[in-house]
């Protein structure tokens, strides 16, 4: 049967694979035939993701993306990749005048600096196969801003810009780089901080014409971008938000 979206025989790496969107992407990519390397800090939750995955050969890597040593050690042991999906991320909600250095370091290290270190080293070590697809999970918050979310928006804006510049650089190797900007996908990222509340959920529910998203809604875009169907797609930013940013 004609299937340009198959991931049979592909090896991919997913960061933030222990929960939320990263977990959903790992599970769905495995369903499409990929072998997945799952990266996150929490081994127990990585194993929970692994237990929900089809197929054999998936491997977990307990890695803190804020630790250069962790990143570099992992890159030594992984095989050559056909795809990378960078989902690891945290939210820090605070007004600009309340921002402190600790918050800046934590969110920038997790949301963008770790990604840059990982990608740079992987390229240096030639761990990407010809035709590899790199996907950054960004956010609609790059352009649809909210009070108190300046740090998060700044990190995700950096992700978008980095991805575009990288796409240009690696095109000669047929490596493609794209971003997905999800709307509201309920997940554990919201569990820490002041934002997970009934009124918050109600506010967002009323503004998503197609309702809230699920990790699978984002995973399906990843599957497309990883597959041969997206052979001619690079440097693009996909907003997938159930119509949230239409108005």
């Amino acid at each position: 049967m004609y299937n340009p979206f198959s991931l049979e025989g592909r090896t991919i790496l997913v960061t933030g694979a222990s929960s939320g969107i990263g977990r959903g992407i790992s599970i769905d990519c495995a369903k499409m035939g990929a072998t997945v390397h799952l990266v996150a800090r929490n081994e127990e939750r990585l194993n929970e993701t692994l237990s929900q995955m089809e197929g054999e050969g998936h491997i977990i890597h307990k890695v803190d993306l804020c630790s250069s040593d962790d990143i570099y050690n992992m890159i030594e042991v992984i095989p050559k990749l056909d795809g990378i999906i960078l989902c690891a991320g945290i939210i820090k909600t605070m007004p600009v005048k309340n921002i402190n250095e600790e918050a800046i370091s934590e969110i920038f290290n997790t949301n963008i600096i770790g990604d840059i270190k990982l990608i740079s080293r992987i390229l240096r070590k030639r761990k990407l196969n010809h035709g590899c697809s790199v996907i950054f999970i960004s956010s609609v918050s790059t352009f649809n801003v909210k009070v108190g979310n300046s740090l998060y928006s700044a990190t995700k804006g950096a992700v978008n810009s980095f991805a575009k510049a990288m796409a240009l650089e690696v095109s000669k190797q047929d490596i493609r780089v794209n971003c997905i900007q999800p709307g509201f996908v309920p997940s554990a990222i919201l569990g820490c901080g002041a934002i997970e509340e009934d009124c918050f959920l109600k506010f967002y529910a009323e503004r998503h014409p197609l309702g809230f998203g699920t990790p699978t809604d984002i995973a399906n875009c990843c599957i497309y971008l990883l597959s041969d169907a997206a052979r001619w797609v690079t440097g693009s930013i996909f907003t997938i938000d159930g119509g949230y940013t239409l108005q």
């Binding site: 605070m94 007004p95 108190g148 002041a194 009124c199 918050f200």
Partner: protein, 75 residues
């Protein structure tokens, strides 16, 4: 932390409202300057200065600054 220190730190999160307006029994959510942004400032201030985590629901459950102080104390 005592109530007086809390009121002082609380007042510092406001840009327009004069500091002498803030008393233990001030119904702070009725202040003209109060907004979701000031609420986030108060949450950040409590986290920073008192190492306690309060939520928007905690804030909405209070009327006066002393009410909020008591919630922070109980955390």
């Amino acid at each position: 932390m005592n109530l007086e220190e809390f009121i002082k730190a609380f007042a510092e999160e406001f840009d327009e409202t004069p500091a002498d307006i803030f008393k233990a029994d001030t119904k702070y959510r009725q202040l003209k300057e109060w907004s979701s942004l000031t609420a986030l400032s108060i949450i950040s201030m409590v986290d920073d200065q008192f190492d306690k985590t309060i939520t928007g629901a905690d804030i909405r459950s209070t009327e006066t600054i002393e009410d909020l102080f008591n919630i922070v104390q109980a955390k």
